[in-house]
């Protein structure tokens, strides 16, 4: 295992980020920091701005105010340090790529005209335990396998930061807990900083170091105990909410049931995922 640099520089530093999209303020004054080898979650309901935030970090989505720094530099030129796993992956069954080929395409990053580094490909396949389907067409794999193939694709460039957009959606319980375990290992053993977006933080709680809770484009950040508190969340939602705890799982509900009816989506989706 190579010695990682001892610098305490944060891997990702987002400060006062504001993004407007089509006349709508999608993200407002977002600030948080990710350290080396940590697992963080970006929690929020549909339309809270999670994907926009990920796209800003990748430099795909321009922003109006604030700054994003990856390993102390601007994103441009640092893309080879970032691995990205988009949401809803479904490869074409006709795609003439084996899992191994897809992983090799990720490894070359910006220098796509160079040949592939087979050691990096083998490491990435091993990291997600994809050796058994390395020779199969990616489009023929199950959803969970395709996702692991894409994670290996992202790992093949040996990133310092790994971004995953809704990786737990559409996974059954067993695959989801397996993925969570994998992400924990990547962070602890390889020192990769992992940032995951999700509707529901509960499956991630065992490995979570840090939480960014997004509501309507504004965020609260910190560790779980600092963020998931009724006073912090009250301010974010703009109406009183309460935090219920049951066997180490967290549920956020509006105090006044009437408000729950008005803004039901995240509560219902949380419940759905537990049913």
């Amino acid at each position: 295992m190579p010695a990682f640099s001892v610098s305490t520089d944060p891997v990702l530093e987002v400060s006062n980020l504001c993004v407007r999209l089509g006349g709508r303020q999608v993200l407002q004054d977002i600030s948080f920091t990710l350290n080396k080898g940590s697992v963080s979650a970006l929690i929020g309901e549909n339309g809270a701005g999670k994907t926009t935030l990920l796209r800003s970090i990748l430099g795909i989505q321009p922003w109006q105010k604030g700054s994003i720094r990856v390993l102390g530099k601007t994103v441009r030129g640092q893309l080879s340090q970032i691995g990205y796993v988009p949401q809803k992956i479904a490869f074409d069954p006709y795609l003439p790529l084996r899992t191994r080929d897809l992983v090799a395409l990720g490894q070359t990053g910006r220098h796509w005209w160079q040949g592939s580094d087979t050691a990096a490909v083998a490491d990435a396949l091993a990291a997600v335990q994809a050796e058994s389907f390395a020779e199969q067409r990616v489009g023929m794999l199950s959803g969970g396998q395709q996702q692991r193939a894409v994670i290996a694709h992202a790992l093949a460039r040996r990133p310092r930061l790994l971004l995953l957009d809704e990786p737990l959606a559409n996974l059954d319980f067993a695959s989801a807990s397996r993925l969570v375990e994998l992400l924990g290992v990547l962070a602890r053993k390889q020192g990769i900083s992992v940032l995951v977006t999700a509707h529901d933080m509960n499956p991630l709680l065992p490995i979570l170091d840090h939480l960014v809770y997004l509501v309507g484009g504004r965020a609260a950040a910190g560790n779980v105990a600092e963020v998931v508190r009724s006073d912090v969340l009250n301010r974010l939602y703009g109406y009183p909410v309460e935090v219920l705890q049951h066997r180490g799982r967290l549920l956020i509900l509006p105090k006044n049931p009437q408000q729950g009816l008005e803004i039901p989506c995240h509560v219902h989706e949380d419940l759905d995922e537990h049913d």
């Binding site: 990205y84 988009p86 490869f91 990053g109 067409r137 894409v150």
Partner: protein, 286 residues
């Protein structure tokens, strides 16, 4: 009868030689580009570029210049127009493609009419739409070789990023690829492929040559390199075989040879069905 297959007269005929060369070049480029087109489900766009290039052929005949440049120019223009009108959302893409196609076909209708009525080029419609592979000017061979050479070099150089953005554009963006520019390049290469098939085997066959071999190849292999080679091989078989059969039909049918386009499309269809049968037999075995 010492040569019942008429191979000697086939291969020594200079018109046939030009036809074989240009047909082969068109087949190689179309087979390769077809892989991306089938994967992206861009069949309509690929077809529209072929049909659209007919307007260029019609204008070129009207102006009395070489048809190749007309086909190419219009195919590139149509590619740029389709890129500008929006390729991102599938719904918009379909309509934008249709509108570009309609406009270019309208222009074809006008210029083919003008060709026939004012320049005595009475065979213009047949020449543009169905190709005139046995009447190709041998001087077009070198420009065609250069065009296909450049296009194939670009595909070899860029096939990895092109395949990645065809698989999932977000992965391409995250890898720092200039996705928009690559997509425009893909459209221009597609236009080049369409223009070459329009020139050789005719506008109407461009679509089959683009899609058929590639779709067959994608069934037969899971390796990226192989898929390109298979597609090129199938396209070559269809075009060269079609030219040969059309040449031979002169002897069977008592002096009225059947069109090349008919035989090429027949071979493409048969090879497509054969690949489907082969793939399903292979699946049954596993």
């Amino acid at each position: 009868m010492t040569d019942p297959l008429h191979l000697a007269s086939f291969l020594h005929n200079s018109a046939v030689q030009t036809a074989l060369w240009i047909g082969a070049l068109a087949a190689i480029l179309n087979g390769s580009m077809g892989i991306f087109t089938v994967l992206r489900q861009h069949s309509f766009a690929g077809h529209a570029l072929g049909d659209g290039s007919s307007a260029g052929g019609a204008v070129a005949i009207f102006l009395g210049s070489a048809a190749l440049w007309g086909f190419l120019g219009m195919a590139w223009l149509a590619a740029l127009a389709m890129g500008a009108l929006g390729l991102r959302r599938a719904r918009e893409r379909d309509l934008a493609t249709g509108v570009v196609l309609g406009a270019t076909l309208g222009i074809s209708a006008l210029f083919l009419y003008l060709d026939v009525s004012s320049t005595q080029a009475s065979g213009a419609t047949v020449e543009v739409m169905f190709g005139s592979i046995f009447a190709l000017d041998p001087q077009l061979l070198w420009p065609t070789i250069i065009l296909v050479g450049v296009a194939i070099a670009l595909i070899v150089l860029l096939y990895r990023p092109l395949l990645l953005i065809a698989a999932n554009p977000d992965l391409g963006r995250a890898a720092g690829l200039p996705v928009r520019r690559l997509e425009l390049l893909y459209l221009l290469l597609l236009g080049t492929a369409a223009a070459l098939s329009a020139l050789s085997i005719g506008v109407i066959l461009a679509t089959a040559l683009l899609l058929g071999p590639a779709a067959s190849a994608l069934r037969l292999t899971r390796r990226p390199w192989q898929s390109f080679l298979y597609a090129q091989g199938i396209a070559l078989t269809a075009v060269l075989g079609g030219i040969y059969l059309a040449f031979m039909s002169y002897y069977w049918s008592g002096g009225a040879s059947w069109p090349v386009s008919f035989f090429v499309v027949l071979l493409i269809l048969l090879l497509y069905l054969a690949s489907a049968a082969l793939a399903s037999r292979r699946r049954a075995k596993h």
